[in-house]
Structures are given as structure tokens and as C-alpha cells.
Symmetry: C3
Subunit: 272 residues, 3 copies
Amino acid sequence: MTVFDRIVAACRAAAENPSLVQCLTNPVVPEITANVLLACGHSPAMCDNTHEAVQFLGLADCALINLGNPTGDQLQAMELVADKAHATGTPWVLDPVAVGPLDYRTATATRLLSYQPTAIRGNASEIAALAGAGSGGRGVDSTDTPEAVADVAGELARRTGSIVAVTGPQDWIIGPDETLLVTGGHPLMQQVVGTGCSLGALVAAYLGSARTAGIAAVDAVAAAHAHSAAAGTMAAQQASRPASFKTAWVDWLFELSPEQIAATATTTVAGQ
Amino acid sequence: MTVFDRIVAACRAAAENPSLVQCLTNPVVPEITANVLLACGHSPAMCDNTHEAVQFLGLADCALINLGNPTGDQLQAMELVADKAHATGTPWVLDPVAVGPLDYRTATATRLLSYQPTAIRGNASEIAALAGAGSGGRGVDSTDTPEAVADVAGELARRTGSIVAVTGPQDWIIGPDETLLVTGGHPLMQQVVGTGCSLGALVAAYLGSARTAGIAAVDAVAAAHAHSAAAGTMAAQQASRPASFKTAWVDWLFELSPEQIAATATTTVAGQ
Amino acid sequence: MTVFDRIVAACRAAAENPSLVQCLTNPVVPEITANVLLACGHSPAMCDNTHEAVQFLGLADCALINLGNPTGDQLQAMELVADKAHATGTPWVLDPVAVGPLDYRTATATRLLSYQPTAIRGNASEIAALAGAGSGGRGVDSTDTPEAVADVAGELARRTGSIVAVTGPQDWIIGPDETLLVTGGHPLMQQVVGTGCSLGALVAAYLGSARTAGIAAVDAVAAAHAHSAAAGTMAAQQASRPASFKTAWVDWLFELSPEQIAATATTTVAGQ
């Protein structure tokens, strides 16, 4: 199967097997994250309190843990959910927002790695810091490129067994056997908060759907990135300012067919 | 007075007597909830911390308690506010989000019923579960229709003295003496997070205004549903994708006159 | 230098020296606040948990403390951040949302004054209440005008050493040596939640940039108000309903040049 066909198949699996996605995320992005998941046909549930989070995971197809601003109660729920997801084989995604410059967060992310996230999604500085090879970016902004951290990201993937997705101008999706490169999107995505955080949730959704449909996890992670990037490419043809762009991006997430996604964002195998 | 005239009168009362609405809601929807209330001329205040919530209720015209993700401190504030609202006769609305599949939340909602909410608003699965006659939906999504749960919803209304509003393709508003059916809206509303949660806040606002103006509570609840549904109908004529639809929906909430609301969403008395 | 040239210079300094802004704000507005900062070229970081907030301030150029719904953990982080900002000379802004009618919040705001905020931004009722000369507004809505509270606001400025910005139809920016009046904006800004709260964050950003560039703080505060107001003026030419207006406002925040800002919102020296 060509890479194009693999992306189409992963997108179709996500469309036909919508996921109920449990999101434990930061307080800036729950609304955009929920709207992104809904636009793509999935169901969001931001259930992250300690009374309910573990029971909810029993209903969910997958989970996202985003470290954007971890507080006491939510952090405890994160550990419980990661533990149960690991024990039950439920796909889950770790988004190590701003890991590196903040000691507490870096220690937290490192501890969560022991629950073997199905995928880790972050920008280059975050991935490098999580891999122990960098001091992180400036707040939530990356000061590295995916290419520059590809080696340490690959080592992180091998060590954890996770698929490691490094988001940037070109996204690097490092799987167990190959690395996929997704090209697309638009710089305006950096000027809308939550495009990256909601991509983490979309990766979880695609992994949930892929598990049901028997799609390879690396294809699901790449297809989620292609979906987001393709919508960004289309939105930029329609809007040149950030708030209009945000509306257009979510609209295109809803509108694009699997074939359009694969055709608009180009996915290739690294080294080929 | 015809049902049409009753809806117009309730909408006019809401427009002429704007409410200060205290919202204790989940962390996904405060912004859209506030913008919906502002678009409809009311004033939102998301004051839900234990230090201030009770004092704030003394200033507010009405309150919303939405169980979308109850945490320790907020949950305590919810009980204190429900208790004081009950004691002072301040209208308040209970939105039992995702009640059913989650034990803790179901127990919480059941306990809050003892403070006799003026209205209970939810989807069919939530209402059935709260009435003790169903196991709830899939996360926040309903797996029932309002028609299918009308009997148990009616029993819940009689037992609690609350107006029970079951939101769906057709909304069932069950009052003490009659049931009103509101038809309107659009399926795209399901693909924008917070349309239901903010409707709960709008029901509270309408109840606050109705109390000032001497409008029957059942009319106020139906009129709030008609306002939301009519804006959905109008928005769908303008936008076919979810993010554009969201913008159009809030714009139409702002724009519609009482007569336009009553004419765009049809309200009838059940059984007539 | 004319006032026009001073505003242009402050806007240019903000554009050329983007700030990393640490926001400790209420749960209704983090997304719009982040999008406003991003649209204006700055970097938001809503880091407000007690484990990380102080360490993060070491990375940030400035901070915002907004009292919209202070809870236990966040409130502790606010005190720690204000204390460190004061000790290190990092510019910080206090936004005393709804101070006045709520005892706990009023006491909290008064206590935070001891850390000498670089600027205080609020509506007229909030500023009067913080100055001890009013009982505050109705919830978050002002029941006073900036003109009416100018004297007590001036006294607050002298007592605290803070620049006091009173937002209204005309904004009063009270500096140590002069008062600047900014005229612009549009009433629709009142029907979009977070336009005021995100202005507080933008004031912090401008102060951070001004410190780097050697711009007077009073010019920075006025320029932030002019930036927001000018975008409101432009947005109102494009949209007459609140959700469309919100999109247009953020788009114009992104689009306007320093010269356009200074030309669209008029800034004058009071008494001249």
C-alpha cells in the first residue's frame, strides 16, 4: 500500500469509527479541543476530576493527557488514568507542553512515561527536553526544529515504545519501523491558541479509531497530523488573519474527505 | 393567550428585564456560555469558588448549576448555592451533564434535587438516568429521544416540582399543568460544544427575568429553548460548517426579536 | 514628542520586543486572552499553579493577575507571583474584576496592592471600590463612568505608585505626571466576554516590551488601550453582531500597524 493509501485508510477508519476521547488538558484549550474533535466526528469528554476520571476511562476509546497547567487534583487524575490506560491497553497520548524549563512539569512528564503512552506529541523543544537532551523552549514556544531533534526523538521512541510525533513546519512521526514526514499547515496556526493541543486530542481520537479498525498506530498518528495540516493549508487560502483563520480551520477539519486530507498534506517515508 | 403570544411575552420579559446569571459550570464552556448570555442581553458571572459563591447569589437574579466536571471546591459551592437559592426562592437550573454512566455524578445530581431546582435541563438519556429509569448515554451524548423518555421525565417533574426540559430534535418542556413542545434548531448544534450547556444558562436567565415580570416559569423555559432553536435555524441558512455556524448562531441570538423567535421556532402544547 | 508619536513608539516597541506574558486569570477568558496576545505578536502562558508559577515568572517578561474567580490554589500562586514580580522589578498588572460587592475579593485585591502593581486596570466601579470610595458595580458591570471616579482613581495612583487605567467609553490612564485619555472602541465590546480581561493581559505585554525598549510605562499602558480600542473601531465597521465582531476585533488586533493604531484611537493629555 502506498503512503497516500495508508493515510486515506487511517482517515476513513477515524471517520467510520468515531472515538469517545477523554481529555485531561489545560484550562486554556478545552473549548477549541472539544470543537476540533466534534468537527472531525468524534466525541470529547473533559472528565479530569479524581472522583470520576478512572471510571470514565472505562467508557472512553482513548485518552489525552496534556500537561499545560497541571494542578493537584487533575495531576492525580492524570496518573490514575495513565495507569489504567496502560493496564487495559487503551490508547493514550502524552502532550508534554512546556516541559523543559519547569522542573515540576518535567518530573511529572518523566514519571508519566512509565505508563507507556501510545504516542507522545510535542514541539521540538518539548520532545528534546523530555528525551533529556535539551532544556526546552521559551514557555510554550519551540526554539528547535523537528529535524534538529530527530535523533533524540528517535531514541525516546525506542526507549519508551511510544510513537513520537514532533510537530513543526514539517511533522516527524517516528514509529517503531519507520518515520513518516507530514508536510502542510500554515504559520498562522502558531497564532491561534490550541491548534497544537487539539492536535494531541485528535491523535488520541485517531488511535482509538485505528484500534477498532485494525489500522497501524503510526499511520493513525500521521493521519491525524495530516488532517490538521490539510485544514490549515485550506484555511490559509480563505483567511489571512488569525481569528478568521481559526474559524476556517475548524470548518475545514469538518469538511475534508480522507482523499482530500491525503492530497492536501503530503506524507512521505523518511529516507525514501 | 395563544402559545405564540406566550412565547413572545416571555421573550420580551427577558429582553426588558435582563438577568445577572451566576453560572457554576464545567471548564469547557464558560466562554461560550458568557457570550450567549451577553448576546441575549443578560450578564454572566462565573463565580463558583467557596469563598464568594453564596455572597454572589445575593446579587444574582438566578443561577445555573452544570455538572459537566464537578471538582471538590466547585461541588461544595454548588451545594451552598443550591441551598441558598432554594431558601431564598431564587430561580436555579440543574443541568445533569452525563449523569447516568458515572456513579459520583449521578449521586451528586440526585442529592442536588433535594434543593428543588426551578428547572432541570438535559438530553433524554441524562433525564432518564436522573429519573432513575435509564443508565444514561455515551459520555455526554444521548442515546434516547425526548419522546421515549417523556413518561419518566413527567414523573420526575411531578416528584420534584421542577419544570423538566428534555432537549432533542424536538424539545419537551414539562410543566406542572401542561407540556410544551419546541421545534427548531439544526443538527449542526450538536457539533459545536456548549450549545446545550449555554441553553441551560439561558433558561436560568429567562427564569430570572420571568420572576421579575410575572411570567409563568414554563413559558420562560420554553421561550429560552425557542430563542436558542430559532437562532440555530437562522444560522443554518447562513453556514453549513460548525465554526461558521457557531458564529452565526451567537449573532442570531443577539439579532432575533421576540416575534421572530416565536415565528421561527414553533411551540405547541402537547396533546392538542 | 507629540502624544501621537509616543503612542506609535510604544506600539512599535511592543511589536519589536514581544513579551512572554504569564497570565493568572479567571476560567472564562484564558482562550480569548491567549488569542489576543498571539494576535498582537506576544506569547501567552497561563501558568498559575503553585508548583510552577514562581519558577515561570523567572522566564516571563511580565505578568497579569486577574481576580475574576480566585480559588485557593490559584490565589496562593497569585500572591507568590506578585511578591516575586515586586522583588525582581518585573512589570505586573492587577485586574480587580468585580471588586466591591464581594468581601473576599475586595480584601484579596487590597492585599495584593502591597506588592505595588505596575498598573491597575479596571472599570470605573472596580477602581472606585479598590480605592475605597465605592461599593462596586453590578457583578462585573460598571455602574460608574471613568470621569466620575477620576479623583479617587488619581488618589489610588498616588498612594500605590501604580499607573491606574480606568476603562470606559473613554479610557483614563493616570500616570505619575499626567493623565492620558484614549478614545475609541465600540459598545459591542461589552457584549463579547474577555475584551476587558484580555486588555489587562495586553497592558502587561506592552509594559514588558516597554521595559526592554526604554519606553515610559504610562505610554505603554495607553498604547495597549489604543491598540484594543482601535481594533474595536475597525471591527465595528465590518460587523454589527457580537460573534462576528469578536472575530473581526482579533483580526484587527493582528492587522493594525503602530501608525494605524495611533490614528484610529485618539490619545490626548487630560487638561490640554
